[in-house]
């Protein structure tokens, strides 16, 4: 335990110089190279994009209340689901935990003063902002109606909407992820504090390392694919064009080579946050540290060989389908190991139920449900029936919204005192967590049934017998929408009026809790030396119960 903690209490929090009051003014924020400030810049831009995507989702759900469409023309509905897809996937979920919490916490958790390449880190944010501007331009001036998958030949030849602007936006934002991934890989390899060996790293760092590996190895392929799509759309000739012998499935191969690992980019950081939350709120070492760490790496590697399960019904060869089906089952195993290890960590722990813990427990249940419905889609015979229906929509929302967004909110609540130096009202936070949990289930469980009944995705109008389930889903969506607004209110309120939080409000282990909150610009007054394992909570000798 480094001695930094001892001398913090004499100096009152406010007057101490920290990264927030070290400098003021627009220039100090827009030209900062401090990883903590860049994390906050990302937090602001990602929250904006989340609410843009969320508005599109609300409009879609309101339209689906009536079989003939209550609100939107089919043309506009197609633009709404494309906007919801593109904004949520590329501009909220992919950067959410890595760019905000990752940027803020990785250097502190490994005991470094900053990321390896601070200027590159700032450039990543500017790339993200440029990409977002292009995407918002595409959305606001006429929209794009190809869905977030941009399948050719529709997107390259037949669509007449802002496909190039949207593809360019995603292309530029892709480089922001690549450079962030590169930054984290080098930081975690080269800048750990003395004594911080690989097996003393917090599991959040393991998950972020696995995510950065996927960033670095996957994102370039979608960059070149979207570049080829844009050029083909401009020159009216290209390699995806069936008229000159092109294979429409080639685009899908290249697209899903990135996009399936991308869904693991979205969930792996969430798993890292959950490992931190479970250990912090049970005050106990995690069960099976090495298994959880290596399952993150396992997921990162296997995620690159399973993309064919998106193409079982597209005329892909049966033999390739069988190979992809086996590997898709294999990738489910590490996730199962993680869930069982988290559950085992709760055994004989000292569990407290503050808001972050509620998000963590909600994550475990919903992620289990989301993961297991993935088995339906990995098995060939059932996927033929369920592919392209609402079952798929429900499956990936259980993992993205039930998993990644819950973990993101849990992480934001858990590290909020460290980021702002203030505590938020915990009762309101627990209430918001419950509202989100209820609203989520009411929205997406009916969609499993709609999927089995055969209602296809991306339908603006649908046969009448599906109306009851759709109305239930829309009702749930409004509850979920309200549930997401509540944290926005009390978190912003807490920045001004929340009680000041000490360096370690949760009594948790980890280098980030051994520095004052909000931390000074160079993270630690005294560079830390790590002498013990991760989550080294004091233990009780005698067995209880």
């Amino acid at each position: 335990m480094s001695t930094a903690l001892a001398d913090i209490h004499e100096v009152p929090a406010e007057s101490r110089v920290n990264y927030l009051n070290a400098a003021y003014g627009i220039k100090s924020w827009l030209l900062t190279v401090d990883h903590k400030r860049i994390g906050l810049l990302y937090l602001a831009s990602i929250t904006l994009m989340f609410f843009v995507g969320g508005t599109a989702a609300v409009l879609m759900r309101m339209n689906l209340i009536e079989p003939q469409g209550a609100l939107l023309e089919p043309e506009t509905y197609n633009k709404m689901f494309s906007t919801h897809g593109i904004i949520m996937v590329f501009f909220f979920l992919v950067p959410s935990i890595p760019a905000t919490l990752g940027n803020f916490l990785i250097p502190i958790m490994i005991g470094a003063r900053d990321v390896a390449f601070p200027k590159l880190n700032l450039m990543s944010w500017y790339l993200f902002i440029t990409g977002s501007t292009f995407a918002l331009y595409a959305v606001l001036t006429g929209g794009v109606d190809t869905g977030w998958t941009f399948y050719t030949p529709y997107s390259s030849t037949y669509a007449h909407t802002n496909v190039i602007a949207a593809a360019l936006g995603v292309f530029i934002a892709g480089f922001s992820s690549i450079l962030t991934g590169l930054n984290f890989v080098v930081t975690i390899h080269k800048m750990r504090a003395p004594g911080m060996t690989w097996f003393r790293l917090p599991l959040f760092i393991w998950a972020m390392y696995a995510t950065s590996v996927i960033f670095v190895l996957g994102t370039p392929v979608i960059a070149v694919t979207l570049l080829l799509l844009g050029v083909e759309r401009l020159l009216h000739v290209g390699i995806f064009d069936p008229a000159i012998g092109g294979d429409p499935l080639l685009f899908q191969h290249l697209f899903w080579f990135y996009s399936h690992p991308a869904v693991y980019i979205m969930i792996l950081p969430g798993m890292g946050v959950i490992s931190e939350l479970i250990t912090a709120f049970t005050r106990k070492k995690i069960f099976g540290y090495t298994f959880v760490a290596f399952s993150s790496m396992g997921i990162a590697v296997i995620s690159f060989v399973v993309w064919g399960h998106h193409m079982f019904v597209t005329g892909q060869s049966v033999y390739a389908g069988l190979v992809f089906s086996v590997l898709s089952f294999l990738v489910a195993i590490p996730s199962a190991i993680k869930v069982f290890n988290w559950t085992a960590t709760l055994y004989r722990g000292s569990i407290s139920y503050q808001a972050p813990m509620l998000y963590a427990l909600g994550f475990m249940g919903l992620f289990t449900m989301g993961g297991l419905t993935g088995l339906f889609l990995a098995s060939l015979a059932v996927d033929v029936h369920l592919n392209g229906t609402y079952f798929i929509v429900a499956h990936f929302h259980y993992i993205m919204v039930g998993g990644a967004v819950m973990a993101y909110l849990g992480g934001i609540h858990y590290w909020w005192p460290k980021i702002t130096g203030r505590l938020y009202p915990d009762l309101w936070a627990r209430f918001a967590a419950l509202v989100i949990f209820v609203g989520f289930n009411l929205t997406f469980f009916p969609q499993f049934m709609l999927g089995y009944l055969g209602m296809p995705r991306r339908y603006a109008i649908y046969p009448a017998e599906f109306q009851v389930l759709n109305v239930m889903s829309s009702a749930g969506a409004s509850i979920l929408g309200v549930g997401y607004l509540i944290p926005l209110v009390y978190l912003i309120w807490s920045v001004r009026y929340g009680p000041p939080a000490g360096p370690n409000p949760w009594g948790a282990k980890g280098l980030e809790w051994e520095t004052p909150s909000p931390p000074p610009t160079e993270n630690f007054e005294v560079p830390p030396v790590v002498t013990e394992d991760a989550y080294n909570y004091p233990t009780r000798e005698v067995a209880r119960g």
Binding site: L250, V305, G308, M311, V318, A320
Partner: protein, 120 residues
């Protein structure tokens, strides 16, 4: 790695062999070896690549981590090519080739509760 200064002789030697290999691969292209032409051209290109990576890019004197990163890059490219090709090349294969079909049919001579159409 920083301390290690590569002698001039090595650089010149690598340079000359690269030039020779370029001449070789261009020459070989004009000799009809059938399918071997592709194999020859690619192996020469890989040899040239290795020369540049090991000597010009100092991979030979680099830490193990750098080597792992290089190999991972090519390995992932291999994953993309192998799996995408596996789909393209096996698309027209018969789903249950005659040989297998016969074997499966013989195993299934007595109808064992599989869907009734199979009995026809």
């Amino acid at each position: 790695m920083a301390e290690h200064v590569v002698p001039l002789k090595t650089y010149i030697g690598v340079f000359l062999s690269l030039m020779a290999l370029t001449a070789l691969t261009t020459g070989v292209a004009y000799i009809d070896l059938g399918a071997l032409n592709t194999v020859a051209a690619l192996t020469i290109a890989v040899v040239k690549m290795l020369l540049v990576v090991l000597y010009f890019m100092h991979a030979r004197y680099a830490t193990g981590l750098t080597r792992v990163v290089i190999i991972a890059g090519f390995f992932w490219l291999g994953i993309l090519i192998t799996f995408a090709l596996s789909d393209e090349l096996t698309r027209n294969w018969e789903i249950v080739p005659q040989a297998w079909g016969a074997i499966i049919a013989s195993l299934r001579a007595p109808v064992d509760g599989c869907p009734k159409w199979h009995g026809r």
